[in-house]
Symmetry: C2
Subunit: 489 residues, 2 copies
Amino acid sequence: MFESAEMHHKVSKERFAREVPALRMKLLDAQYRLLGSKAASIVVVVGGVDGAGKGETVNLLNGWLDPRHVATYGFGGPSDEERDRPPFWRFWRVLPPKGRSAIFFGSWYTEPIVSRVLRHIGRGEADRAMERIRHFEEMLSNEGVVLVKLWFHLSKEDQGKRLRALEKDPRTLWRVTKTDWAHFRLYDRFRAISSRALRQTSSEYAPWQVVAGGEPHYRSLMVGRAVLEAFELAAKGGRPPERAKAAPAVDPVDQQHVLHALDLKKCLDKNRYEKDLEKLQGRLNVLTRRPQFHERSLVVVFEGADAAGKGSAIRRVTAALDARIYQVVPVAAPTDEERARPYLWRFWRQLPARGKVLLFDRSWYGRVLVERVEGFCTETDWARAYSEINEFEEQLAEHGVVLVKLWLQIDAAEQLRRFRDRQKTGFKRYKLGPEDWRNRKKTPAYERAVADMIDRTSTEIAPWTLVEANDKRWARAKILQTICERLKG
Amino acid sequence: MFESAEMHHKVSKERFAREVPALRMKLLDAQYRLLGSKAASIVVVVGGVDGAGKGETVNLLNGWLDPRHVATYGFGGPSDEERDRPPFWRFWRVLPPKGRSAIFFGSWYTEPIVSRVLRHIGRGEADRAMERIRHFEEMLSNEGVVLVKLWFHLSKEDQGKRLRALEKDPRTLWRVTKTDWAHFRLYDRFRAISSRALRQTSSEYAPWQVVAGGEPHYRSLMVGRAVLEAFELAAKGGRPPERAKAAPAVDPVDQQHVLHALDLKKCLDKNRYEKDLEKLQGRLNVLTRRPQFHERSLVVVFEGADAAGKGSAIRRVTAALDARIYQVVPVAAPTDEERARPYLWRFWRQLPARGKVLLFDRSWYGRVLVERVEGFCTETDWARAYSEINEFEEQLAEHGVVLVKLWLQIDAAEQLRRFRDRQKTGFKRYKLGPEDWRNRKKTPAYERAVADMIDRTSTEIAPWTLVEANDKRWARAKILQTICERLKG
C-alpha cells in the first residue's frame, strides 16, 4: 500500500516555481467550470500520519482555489450536538451541493482507525466500520459526489527524523509534544491498521491516493494534480443517475516508481551462487516435507517483463520439489472456455489441495497489467479488479495458502541484450515474437501499471516481493530465499 | 422481508393448467436465444426453509427447461477435494459458461446461515460472510452472470401444519424425521437470521425473490416467471463490461399484495375510541418523560395514499407531546438546495437530538414510491435505494433511535368519498389538487411499489406497521398503541 510513498521523491524548487502558476490557472478554471455546470460536487478527504504535511496542503489548496467556493472542515472530537446524533450526521450536515466542493480534514475514517489503534474496538468491528464506509462512498458516488481521498504518508524513519529535527531546533522544539512521541511509538500498529483500512476501502468509485509526505514540493504538485483531475472530471462529468467517475490515481510527478528504487546492479558470483542455491533448494525441500505443510499449500506467482527470467527461475524452484506435489501453470491468453466465465475462474479451478505447490508463470495480475495496457478490458473492469483480487487473495490466506508474489525486474538494456541473445541462439528463438519488440515501446505504460498494482495489491496478507533480476543468479537466490522465509513464517 | 410470502396465495388448478403451456414455450424459447447469444450466464440460487417446495421446484424447472443446457448442483457437506480448498472453490468450479445456466440447490448462503443458527459463529462473523457474498455477487454481475436468488418461505404455522399432516398419513409418516422437528424448534431463530442475511445481500444487482412456498401452483408460476425474466434479460442482455442487469422482482401472479390482506373493515366506536385515545396519549406522554428517553429519540414515519389520514393522525400524536420536544416535518418535492445533494441529505439534516421526537409526514420512502412510480428517478436509482435506506435505518437503530414506520391503507371507495368531501368542505379544498385525481389511476403501480417497499425494508431493526385506515378512529388508536409499544420495548 505504501511502497511508492516510502520512496524518496523530490521536485526541485525551480521546477516547482515553474509549474505552479499553470497548475493554479487550471485549478481555478476547472473550479469555475464546475460552479457553472453543477454537474457534481467534490469532497476531498484528507487523512494520514502526523507531520506528513496534511495541514500545509489544506492551506495550500485554499490558496490555490477560490476559497469562497471551497469549504474546509476539520473534524476533531464531536460536538455535543453531534454526539447526540448518529456518527455520520456531522458529515452529512456539511455535504457540499452540486457545483461546490469541500475539504474534509479528518473524516469518517478517523474515528474507526484511531479506535482500532488504541484497541478500543476489535478487528471485526473495524472491518464492519470500513464496510459501512464502502457503502456510504458508493452511494455518494452514485449520487454525483466525486471523492478525492488523499492519504499522507511518511516512513517510520522519516517520521523519527522529523521529530528529532524539530526538537533540535530551539525555535521549533515547542511543536513536539509528548503525544507526538506517543503516536510515534504506535507507528507500526497505525501503519498496519491503516493499510488494511485503505485496502478495504479503495474501491473503483473512490480509490485512495497515497501521497508521499516527506518533500513539500513533490507533495504539493501531486495533490494539486489529483485535485485538478477531480475538478475536471466533475465539471464535465456524469450527472446522476450515471455514477460519478472516480478520479484516477495521479502519476508521480517526478516519474519515480517503486521499480526505479531497485538496485539492479545487485549480483552474486558464481561460486557463492552455487553454494547458496544448493542450500536454499535443500531448505525448501525440507520445508515442503514437514508435517505442518500437509495442512497448508503454496502458491507462487511469477510476474515480470518479457525475458526477465521467470521460466528459468521457476525451474530452480521445481528442482527442489518432489514431482508429485507441484504443478506449473503457464498463463497465456484465455481460451474460449475461460473467456466465457469471470476472469478469476481459470485461477480458482487450478487451486492446489493442501500439501501441494502451484507455480503460476504469469497470473490473475494480467487483468491489471497486459489487459489494462493493451486495452483488452475497459477501465471500469481493471479498476474494480484490484479489490476483487484482494478479496480473492484474502480467501486464499484464510484457508492457509501461503501466497508468494514475485515481480522480476530488469532494465531496458538488459532486456535488449536478452532479446538479441534469443535471436542468435537457435533453441531460444521461439521465445521471441514481434509482440515482444512492440511491448518494449510501451515500457512507461507497463511501469505505471506495475507501480499501481504494487501499491494497491501489496497487502499485509499477500505482500509483493520485488526481485532485482538483471543478474539471474541474484534473482534466483532471492526468490528461493523469499519462498523459504514465507513457508517458515 | 417475509410479509408477502406469509400471505395466503393461491392459483387455481384450472388457471395453472391454462398458463403453464405458454410459460414453458417462452422459457424454452428464451433458453435457446441465450444459448445462441451467449450474452450472459444464469445461476439460479435456491434457498429457504424445509418443506417449502425447493426440491419440487428444482425438478419442475428441469422439466420445463431443456435439461441438457441446465446443470443442477446440490451442495451438501463439502467433499474431501472441496474441504482441501477455500470454501468458494466448489461454486467456482461449476460456474456455467456464457450462454448456459445452472441451478444451485444450496449455495454460498447455506453454510454461514446454518452455522449462525447453530451458534457455531457469532453475529460479526456472519455479517462478514454476508459482506463477502455481496462482493462476490457484485463481481459475478459485473462479469455477466445473471443471478436469480429464490428464497422459499413458509410461515411457522404452515410449517407445523405440514409436518403434522405428513405424520398423520401413514404413507408419508416416514418422511418426517427427528431432524425435521429439531429444525422446526429452531424456526424463529432461523427466520430472524435469514431475514438479516437477505436484507444484507439483497442488492440492486442480485435482489432476493422471496417465494411463498405453501401452494404448489402459485409457487411454480412465480418461480417460472422469475426464471423466464432472467433468461429474457440475459439473452438480450449486457455483455460485460456492462453489468448484467438484475431481474426485477416478479409481481405476485395472483395479484395478492400484503395490502390486500388487511381487514379494512376494522373500526372503533366513538365511546371506546375516546376512552382509548385519552389513555394512549397519556401513556405516550409518560413514556417520553421517562429518564430513559433522554438517551434515545423517536422518529415516526407516516406514509400512505392521499387522504389516508396522515395529517390528522399526526395531530393525535403531537397532542400527547410536550411542544418543546417534537417537530413535524412535511416532506414535499425537494427544493433546489435539496436536489443538489444525495436524496437522503434532507432527512439526515433533520435528525432529532436525544430526547426529541420527529414526525415525518412522508419520508425517504418517496424514493421507492412516488419517484419510482412517476419516473422521477431511474430504475437503477430506486433499485439501489432499498439497501441504502436499510443502511440509513441501521445507523439510526444503532444510535438508539426508535424508528416507527407506519403505512396507512385505505381502499379506493373510501378515498373517493374523502376526495368528494374535500371538494365540498371549503377549508379542506386546498388539500385536493388535480394530481390527486391523477394518482388514483395509478393505484396498481403504487400498490406494487408499496408491496416491494415492505418486503425489502421491513427489517428486524425497523419493521413496518400496516394500519387499516378506512376508519380513522381505529387507525389513530393503532398508531398510538404501536408507538407506545415500540418506546416501551
